[in-house]
């Protein structure tokens, strides 16, 4: 097994593109190293991207948008007071991954590229309208986060391509987001269902824009436009809540597995979508 830690995007991409055997990207390693130890993967090449400066930055852009490096850890997000204020849902989602120790290593890029439909930070990023910036042998391109993952362990990345950073859009006033997941325990667990909601309200408290994303209820993390439509134009009253729950449930195509039944996941998806939207709404109104 070969280990490389290049300092440029181009070099990393070239290494990945030229690798004959299985190549893996190492960011925090909280999934990769565990999978190697469990004999699930046996890569011929490991490319550590942490020495590429732009994978490690959190930057507020002049227009109000944000750029977050793919190898920024959950703990670093949490310690960024301004980011936490503007995107509390994204930050709280990243900090539900694993334990406190794991959050010191685990990254947004790794969480997405591990390709799990239950990844905690992904619904929050999708709800936030995040765009992934990919780099590859043909250069760079942007892809909405909801289009990066195609199915369990399947990504829309070409040979030699990897996620360099994420872009978050500028925030209008009275906007906020939230993420909730259902687990039977309080931590150190994996989402049975996850829900991310981002929304904006007008001065009267009516929702003008919304994005709703659900995790662990389908082969990939879903952007549920119908759920967003169910609450836009409302003040999230009881009727809108019921519409949101119904739309969220209608989008689910989960499986029965060790973590939950189909029936349970569908039921919970509605409950979580509503609870998450209420938190996001409360945050947006008090922004």
């Amino acid at each position: 097994m070969r280990y490389e830690a290049p300092e440029t995007v181009e070099r990393a991409s070239a290494l990945l593109a030229d690798s004959a055997g299985e190549a893996r990207i190492l960011a925090g390693g909280t999934d990769l190293l565990v999978q190697m130890r469990s004999d699930i993967v046996d890569p011929a090449l490991i490319v550590d991207i942490k020495r590429i400066a732009e994978t490690r930055w959190i930057t507020e852009e002049p227009g109000g948008g944000w750029r977050i490096g793919a190898a920024v850890t959950g703990a670093e997000l949490k310690e960024h007071a301004r980011l936490k204020q503007v995107w509390p849902g994204v930050v709280e989602a990243a900090n539900l991954i694993g334990s406190t120790q794991v959050q010191g290593r685990a990254t947004l890029g790794g969480n997405l590229c591990n390709g799990s439909p239950a990844a905690d930070s992904v619904p929050a990023l999708i709800a936030a309208g995040a765009v992934a910036t990919l780099a590859g042998p043909q250069g760079r391109r942007d892809l909405p986060v909801e289009d990066v993952m195609l199915g369990p362990r399947k990504l829309a990345l070409g040979k030699g391509e990897f996620v360099v950073s994420f872009g978050l859009p500028p925030r209008p006033p009275r906007s906020s987001d939230a993420y909730l997941r259902f687990i039977p325990r309080t931590e150190m667990d994996i989402a049975v269902v996850g829900a991310g909601v981002s929304l904006t309200v007008d001065a009267s408290g009516t929702i003008t824009e919304a994005r709703v994303s659900l995790g662990a209820v389908a082969p990939r993390v879903l952007l549920v436009r119908e759920a967003a439509a169910a609450i836009v134009g409302s003040r999230l009253d009881r009727v809108a809540q019921d519409r949101l729950e119904a739309a969220a449930r209608a989008a689910c195509t989960p499986i029965d597995d060790k973590r939950g039944t189909v029936e349970f996941r569908i039921q919970i998806a509605g409950v979580l979508a509503r609870r998450t939207a209420l938190i996001a709404l409360d945050r947006a109104r008090t922004q």
């Binding site: 130890r37 469990s38 004999d39 259902f182 039977p184 325990r185 309080t186 931590e187 150190m188 667990d189 994996i190 049975v192 597995d257 060790k258 973590r259 939950g260 039944t261 029936e263 349970f264 039921q267 919970i268 409950v271």
Partner: protein, 760 residues
């Protein structure tokens, strides 16, 4: 001072600093995987991918040819063992099964069953070598569920297994290894007198002991056939015995050192890696180190039984229990030996009842062989009974504590399993719970409160310790039972009090098997109970020896000298003839007065008193998700005498937490393919620290008259009541009687929706 046998500083019953604490918090303590030897090889196990398969052939030639591979072992490296049951603490064992569990012979009987092992110069080479071992399997139909395994026509695990305990002896083999029964009085007559009868069927999932430290062993076998072994175990003498038997070695030629242990809970009372590491080392002529992965721990060690239990109880309208019937079907795993016998015996043990009948079945299926787990068998049967007791209380409109109090076993009660109880403390625990602020605090909607009691026998057993007075008057204490719950601190306090020395002048260690006479393992809540009895014996020898030395030094007669208040003193008419001497004083003159001062305590401890406890729990159900939060938890248990109260409270708390996990989320999930799907802590959902509140512990001390300090074992009882207490609290919160564990969110939500119990 002489009260309870103490005659020194009175450290017993105080919260002394644990002698093993500093090394544990600084990382110096050596656990199973922390031992290494120069030139050691890494051993790995090849495990069956099939839940049930005949092993037609094993070809190891390609693995052996791989550079770096120094030894490969299979079933051919172990002699077969005859079928013979021998007692192993609270369970029975049979070497014919042990040799087959260690390495599969005719068949692989569960996914993860060890089939071969390799030792190589690196872990990577060992892993590659495993892939080169060619096993020809003939896959057979499998059976996982206990009820299905009992059906005629179910896939048969052992064609020589005929149900024991039934007349006439069956002429066909089955998966039912054994039927056991206990009867007291006449249950039919009892039910005839009942005004209320409740009958329910319960189901529990198998749960793992969940120790954080995986099994680990380091073995080295010399060319002359002597062997040394370091491993994490609850009983290194037992490991020695098993390994000597399986490898055909003299017991004197194996020396086993127990490491610090990162949890055992009964699961480290058997051997898995140890004989393999020894056999590999013998073949390779190099030390061999083996450590299980977490996945291996789940697939191939532990757990305890899952079960199906039917309980029928009758009571008069004023609440007197008049009859109790139960039928228990326990999974044994791939080989017989579930804890159904203690499950049967404990089912009704907390209650004074005239008519009891309990039947149990020990059933094999294609799962890992169960190992002991904290009060083996008792939590399952007592969960079922405590649930029914609660339902009777509700039917009769009686307070559940009052109902238990009315029927509580007490001194003189004849237990259905045989003996008449001596002094026991169930009533005291019920009273303590009733008086808590917790019991008297109101609850809100969706919150529930539950109470349940629990019983465990406890055992004594063979125990050997030594006390050595060093040249400077300090004392070396050696015990031979691994310290899994505060043994060293407890024994050091007893030794300090007995010998009149300061607690920090006593250094307790756990000796290896070459250092002391045979010690049965740490289990059955026996080590502090038996160990402290042995310390008292050893101290008695030292005190007698010092008195004899004083006679010579002072030129006095034996009757003029006595051990009083921590010193040897001249007494009576000789009282002013000499200055009293402490142990340290004797240490200074040891050489001149007969040589080293040593006490050796050895006994087969008898008189272990049962410990009873009562648990109280508050919880809250999220009606929209079925998620349960434990809000508050109080344990009251009879410790007899708590040698070290903080450690005893720790036992109460730990047992309660394991019970919470068993009740709410822990379970083995099998696919239709007979493979375990959640072999890791991510999906095997043990509680984490943030899942549980601080557990309040109330020490009840009803002295055990058979022990010099009044001690009872305390380690196991705390896991017995939580299952029932939580189920009862769930009923209180939702109005639904949950009869199937775990009460995980999908199950709870489904029940709430079916009953129309929802938030809206």
């Amino acid at each position: 001072m002489a009260e309870n046998g103490t005659n020194g500083h009175g450290y017993v019953g105080t919260r002394t600093i644990r002698p093993d604490g500093v090394d544990k918090v600084t990382g110096r303590a050596r656990f199973g995987a922390d031992f290494n030897l120069p030139g050691q090889l890494i051993g790995r196990v090849l495990r069956s991918p099939h839940p049930h398969a005949r092993i037609v052939a094993i070809d190891t030639s390609k693995a052996e040819a791989l550079p770096g591979v120094k030894a490969v072992i299979t079933r051919d490296d172990f002699a077969d063992q005859p079928s013979e049951f021998i007692p192993a603490g609270e369970m029975m064992m049979n070497y014919k099964d042990v040799v087959r569990n260690v390495l599969a012979r005719e068949k692989a009987l569960y996914e993860g069953h060890a089939v071969a092992a390799v030792a190589a110069t690196s872990a990577a080479i060992a892993r590659r070598a495993l892939k080169l071992i060619d096993v020809t399997y003939e896959v057979l139909p499998h059976v996982i569920d206990v009820v299905e395994a009992m059906r005629p026509g179910a896939p048969l695990l052992h064609d020589d297994l005929f149900t024991a305990g039934v007349e006439p002896k069956p002429d066909k083999p089955s998966n039912i290894a054994k039927r056991v029964e206990i009867t007291l009085g006449d249950v039919d007559a009892g039910f005839a007198k009942a005004d209320v009868i409740v009958e329910r069927e319960f189901k529990t999932a198998p749960v793992h002991q969940g120790y954080i430290e995986p099994h680990a062993a380091l073995a080295t076998v010399s060319e002359d056939g002597t062997a040394e072994l370091w491993c994490c175990t609850q009983g290194h003498y037992i490991v020695r015995a098993h390994c000597a038997r399986l490898l055909g070695l003299d017991i004197a030629k194996i020396r086993v050192t127990a490491s610090e242990i990162g949890g055992g809970f009964g699961g480290k009372t058997v051997v898995y890696l140890e004989p393999l590491a020894l056999a590999l080392s013998r073949k390779a002529k190099r030390p061999v180190k083996m450590v299980m992965s977490r996945e291996e721990v789940f697939k191939a060690s532990g757990p305890t039984s899952g079960a199906t239990v039917r309980v029928k109880m009758g009571a008069t309208k004023d609440g007197k229990f008049v009859a109790g019937f139960a039928e228990l079907k326990y999974q044994a795993g791939a080989f017989q030996g579930s804890p159904v016998q203690p499950g049967v015996m404990c089912a009704y043990a907390p209650y004074d009842m005239e008519n009891v009948k309990v039947i149990g079945y020990d059933v094999v299926s294609n799962r890992p062989k169960v190992a002991a787990y904290r009060a083996p068998g008792a939590p399952i049967s007592e969960f079922a009974v405590e649930s029914v007791v609660d339902e009777i209380a509700k039917k009769l409109g009686l307070d559940p504590i009052e109902l238990r109090m009315m029927n509580a076993a007490r001194e003189g009660t004849k237990a259905a399993y045989g003996p008449k109880f001596g002094p026991i403390g169930l009533e005291e625990t019920l009273n303590s719970i009733k008086k808590t602020e917790h019991w008297n605090t109101p609850l809100r909607k969706w919150q529930g409160r539950g109470v349940a009691s629990g019983f465990w026998f406890n055992i004594g057993g063979e125990t050997c310790v030594s006390l050595t007075v060093n040249e400077d008057g300090t004392v070396s204490l050696m015990a031979g039972t691994p310290d899994i719950g505060g043994l060293r601190a407890s024994l050091a306090a007893v030794a300090a009090d007995e010998l009149g020395v300061e607690y920090d002048k006593v250094r307790p260690i756990i000796g290896d098997t070459g250092s002391l006479g045979f010690n049965f393992l740490t289990g059955g809540s026996r080590s502090a109970f038996s160990g402290s009895m042995a310390i008292v014996e050893a101290a008695k020898q030292i005190k007698a020896d010092c008195c004899a030395r004083a006679c010579k030094l002072w030129d006095l007669k034996p009757e003029q000298v006595a051990w009083e208040r921590g010193r040897v003193r001249p007494i009576g008419d000789a009282a002013d003839k000499a200055k009293p001497m402490s142990i340290a004083d004797f240490a200074k003159v040891a050489g001149k007065t007969g040589g080293p001062i040593v006490g050796y305590g050895r006994l087969n401890a008898q008189g272990a008193g049962p410990s009873l406890g009562t648990h109280l729990v508050d919880l809250e159900v999220d009606p929209e998700t079925g998620r349960v939060t434990i809000l508050r938890y109080t344990v009251a248990q009879d410790a007899g005498k708590a040698l070290h109260p903080a450690y005893v409270e720790g036992q109460f708390q730990g047992g309660a937490v394991q019970g919470i996990g068993w009740a709410l989320n822990e379970e083995y999930v099998y696919g239709d393919d007979g493979k375990l799907q959640n072999a890791g802590f991510l999906d095997y959902r043990m509680p984490v620290a943030s899942d549980v509140p601080m557990i309040d512990a109330i020490l009840v001390e009803v002295a055990n008259p058979k022990h010099p300090y009044g001690v009872r074992g305390v380690g196991e009882t705390p896991i017995v009541p939580p299952l029932g207490a939580i189920a009862n609290a769930m009923e209180n919160a939702t109005g639904i009687r949950f009869t199937e564990l775990p009460m995980s969110p999908p199950k709870v939500l489904k029940a709430l929706r079916e009953k129309g119990v929802t938030a809206k």
